[in-house]
């Protein structure tokens, strides 16, 4: 655990990619084989199932720290992270022992079979033998919330460097189903057997938001323009007469989409399609929240399947007849995709696949106006792909760009404030905003980010002077300050007082020029929802 915690700290405390890769290479060069494979698994987000409840961890920590729940909660509010709160609230350990990472993982996974008393015994003893950084990592692992600031791309880079392999090969071998319990790192990286795992998806090629005026991309003829749909990016794989559906987060989600089972009869073996899984009816996408209701269900009843039928909007063809097409040009892949789909239509009329239409634009001005139509089409914006581009690995700049439309905005009045976390623990930085419903202000969203440090201090100062009431950590304040809230989507929500819910709200700016009665109304937002519907 010592080396793994050191790796964690090194990665956590730098923003420089090179330093991160160096730290990884260093770790792989000296880590035990069994620890290294666990490290890779954890770094790329393979989490074992949780065997300890966070409530248990919390109470064992409070016991050792000699504090009551209210004080733990206050501390948690300041720290903002449960694993870290436990780490810091525990009395500093006096003895140390270096546990192996794989031994610790084995132990944690086996805990579901033992009594609560035994669990407590194990966790508390271990806490008392770990340094602060080790404790933090241990708590992250036991709470199942382990995350670390490296992209899969960097892990691939470091492994390629350490084991003298091509990055694309490493990348492909890391994808798909494998279990750190029964493979070794070398076994995984050097397995030459192409048939070992047919379920494996290709790493997704992801685009960055366009940062320059579109004209600067040059000749429009070299670009393919498509819409950017708002669903679940995924890969459909048909190999060995089996169907696999993967999400971009590399989760195998085949079971959630029974619609695609029919593809086994209509697509040839050895096919991989990249696209967006969307709820669609009559050839048109449905709003994103339809998808949410669908994916949140465990049991897919007939009614749900009818209300939210899913299809894949196909973007790209990555494999055909077991041939990896990623190094062919976009143009070539597109032609092959079109042919494949028309053959499939011939076999099956209600094929759950649609090809993502290419928008024919004469010039960049037309592209711009297409982009502005995004919301009517329930899209996020456009995708611009170079026609001669190969299918790359991970998030890359240059050949593919996403060009999302600007966020929607609404002006809200600040009515509640709560203290922030960490270094902002003494500042009121978490705000609740309200809109007008007749004569009344109703809260409609919370937002945390978006103000500059200077503005935060000003607002904090204002809040302290204009508090009407305190309840717990929350203060209600005079309805006076107006802020512009930006967001990505809006939907009706009977659970909220305001009747609406926003997706990804954030503070766009402080409208010092506006008085509270100039803020938006509930009606404004309901109208907005209407206008966004097709």
């Amino acid at each position: 655990m010592k080396k793994f915690a050191e790796l964690y700290t090194a990665i956590d405390e730098t923003t420089k990619t090179n330093a991160k890769v160096d730290a990884l290479v260093h770790y792989f060069s000296e880590a035990d084989e069994k620890d290294a494979i666990w490290c890779v698994a954890l770094l790329i987000g393979k989490k074992p199932k949780r065997t300890i409840k966070t409530a248990e961890l919390k109470s064992w920590c409070m016991e050792l720290a000699g504090i009551e729940e209210w004080l733990f909660e206050e501390s948690y509010h300041v720290v903002g992270d449960l694993a870290e709160t436990i780490t810091l609230a525990l009395p500093p350990s006096k003895e140390r022992k270096d546990f192996s990472l794989h031994g610790t993982m084995d132990k944690i996974m086996s805990l579901d079979k033992v009594s609560e008393e035994e669990k407590r015994e194990y966790v508390q003893t271990t806490w008392n033998l770990l340094s602060t950084p080790e404790r933090f990592v241990f708590n992250k692992l036991t709470t199942g919330s382990f995350r670390i600031g490296v992209s899969q791309q960097l892990v691939i880079k470091a492994l390629a460097k350490q084991f003298h392999l091509d990055e694309n090969i490493v990348s492909h071998r890391l994808t798909g189903k494998w279990d750190p319990v029964n493979v070794t790192l070398k076994g995984l990286l050097f397995s030459d057997n192409k048939n070992d795992d047919h379920s494996k998806p290709y790493p997704f090629y992801l685009a960055y938001q366009l940062e320059v005026p579109a004209e600067e991309l040059g000749d429009l003829n070299e670009w393919q323009v498509e819409r950017k749909y708002d669903g679940i990016r995924g890969q459909i794989i048909i190999r060995d007469k089996q169907l696999f559906v993967w999400s971009r987060g590399e989760e195998l989600i085949t079971e959630k989409f029974p619609e695609f089972n029919s593809l086994l009869n209509s697509l040839p073996d050895g096919t991989v399609i990249d696209g967006e899984i969307l709820p669609m009816k009559d050839g048109k996408p449905l709003p994103f929240h339809v998808m949410q209701t669908r994916t949140s269900r465990k049991n897919l009843s007939k009614k749900i399947l009818e209300d939210a039928p899913l299809m894949m909007m196909c973007y790209d063809l990555l494999e055909l007849e077991y041939n990896d097409l990623r190094n062919e040009s976009m143009n070539m892949r597109r032609t092959k995709l079109e042919n494949l789909l028309s053959e499939a239509y011939a076999k099956m009329k209600d094929l759950p696949l649609v090809i993502s239409p290419v928008l024919e634009c004469k010039d960049w001005d037309e592209v711009k106006s297409e982009r502005l139509k995004a919301r009517e089409c329930l899209c996020e914006g456009l995708m611009l792909k170079r026609k001669d581009s190969v299918y790359e690995v991970g998030r890359r700049k240059g050949n593919w760009w996403k060009w999302k439309v600007d966020a929607l905005t609404v002006d809200g009045v600040l009515i509640y404030a709560q203290k922030g976390h960490g270094r902002r623990a003494n500042l009121y930085t978490d705000y609740t905003f309200a809109i007008w419903d007749g004569e009344q202000l109703v809260p409609f969203t919370k937002a945390y980010s978006g103000l500059t440090d200077k503005e935060l201090l000003q607002v904090d100062n204002w809040i302290k002077k204009n508090t009407i009431d305190k309840f717990g950590p929350v203060r209600s304040v005079k309805a006076e300050l107006v802020f512009e809230i930006a967001f990505e989507g809006i939907q009706p929500s009977p659970r909220h007082k305001s009747g609406i819910a926003l997706r990804f709200p954030r503070i766009a700016r402080w409208r010092t020029d506006k008085s509270p009665n100039e803020a938006n109304t509930k009606n404004d937002l309901l109208q907005l929802i209407q206008s966004l519907k097709v």
Binding site: D12, W70, L71, V79, D81, E84, L88, P92
Partner: protein, 341 residues
């Protein structure tokens, strides 16, 4: 005997304020940090070692009387004396004795020995005014010897890689504490103007390693140096001349991962001139006081803890003191201005 009003902490029978934030007739200053030593009062009283800095900040012509620790003066029948607070050079707790009752206002304090200030001494009293900057159980500061060792090891590694080390801490207090423990055999030590300004006003008995002003830094010749600078230097073009460098930040807040990451330093060192959780509890128990007034920090939480756990009569008090704030740094801002003048 003490009242908390809109001017500050008022000792009514003596007619004197402690660390007032608005101009008053007579003010006792616990220490020279700018949230405690404020401008505009007619007469000041402080420990001898605080006076050069108070004058630097509030003007050379102010009326200020110096006291030694334990020296007692009488103000309208109130016996007043200053006692070591261990926070920074010249920092003092104010003891007030009147009609058989003892009150102590501690200003800022810590129990760690920093080898720069005179260590904190608990005073038996009936009423104790405490800060609570780090008054939560999550703040458990490491042994400062280990932190100083880590700072030197970090400097050494950077030095070996031909990089400079910029270490950030308050110009008054933290900077001297850092300097005091640097290992000069590793390389050259430079100070930001704000730090140099304070160093000039430290008592003679404080021996610091030799330092050079940062303006004399020459890139080609001085690779691998360490530069001690105040928080206000973070993110300014002033840092450019030291490239390539690693940035280390010394603060109690560095205990929190979020603070370490948001601050944008390469390393966070947990080094504070305030009490952590254990120190606060130890100090308060040692005073034997039944009545506790909790000021700046997590005051309502900490006061509740004292009531629940130790059955003390503890209340929170609103003040305008700022605690350890790595974000908005008035003292350093003032000093920067001074540097420009």
């Amino acid at each position: 005997m003490l009242k908390f009003d809109r001017f500050g902490i008022f000792c009514e029978p003596a007619g004197v304020y402690i660390d007032p934030w608005k101009p008053v007739e007579k003010a006792i200053i616990t220490h020279a940090h700018s949230d405690h030593a404020r401008w505009g009062s007619k007469h000041y009283l402080a420990h001898h070692d605080s006076i050069p800095i108070i004058k630097l900040r509030l003007g050379a012509d102010i009326s200020v009387q110096g006291l030694d620790y334990y020296e007692t003066i009488d103000m309208n029948g109130v016996k007043i004396s200053l006692h070591p607070a261990g926070h920074i050079t010249g920092s003092a707790q104010v003891k007030m004795e009147h009609k058989g009752k003892v009150w102590v206002a501690s200003g800022d304090y810590k129990l760690q020995n920093d080898n720069v200030s005179v260590p904190f001494e608990p005073i038996k009293c009936d009423h104790f005014v405490t800060e609570s900057t780090f008054g939560l159980p999550i703040y458990n500061f490491p042994d400062p010897q280990i932190v100083h060792h880590d700072i030197n090891a970090w400097w050494k590694t950077n030095n070996e890689q031909g990089k400079n080390s910029i270490i950030i801490g308050y110009a008054l207090g933290k900077a001297q504490r850092i300097l005091k423990h640097l290992d000069p055999s590793i390389g050259n030590i430079y100070t930001h103007g704000a730090v140099a300004n304070i160093n000039l006003r430290m008592p003679e008995k404080l021996i610091l390693p030799d330092t050079r002003p940062a303006v004399e830094f020459i890139k080609k010749e001085n690779a691998g140096s360490i530069i001690v600078a105040p928080p206000s230097a973070i993110g300014t073009p002033w840092l450019k001349r030291f490239e390539p460098f690693s940035l280390g930040i010394c603060s109690g807040w560095m205990q929190l991962r979020g603070a370490r990451r948001r601050r944008g330093g390469d390393r966070g060192f947990v080094l504070s001139d305030h009490c952590d959780w254990q120190q606060l509890n130890t100090a308060i128990k040692a005073t034997g006081a039944e009545n506790i007034y909790v000021t700046h920090g997590y005051k309502s939480i900490y006061a509740k803890w004292l009531r629940d756990e130790y059955k003390l009569n503890a209340v929170e008090v609103d003040t305008l003191y700022e605690g350890e704030n790595i974000e908005e740094n008035k003292p350093e801002e003032n000093e920067q201005a001074e540097e420009v003048q």
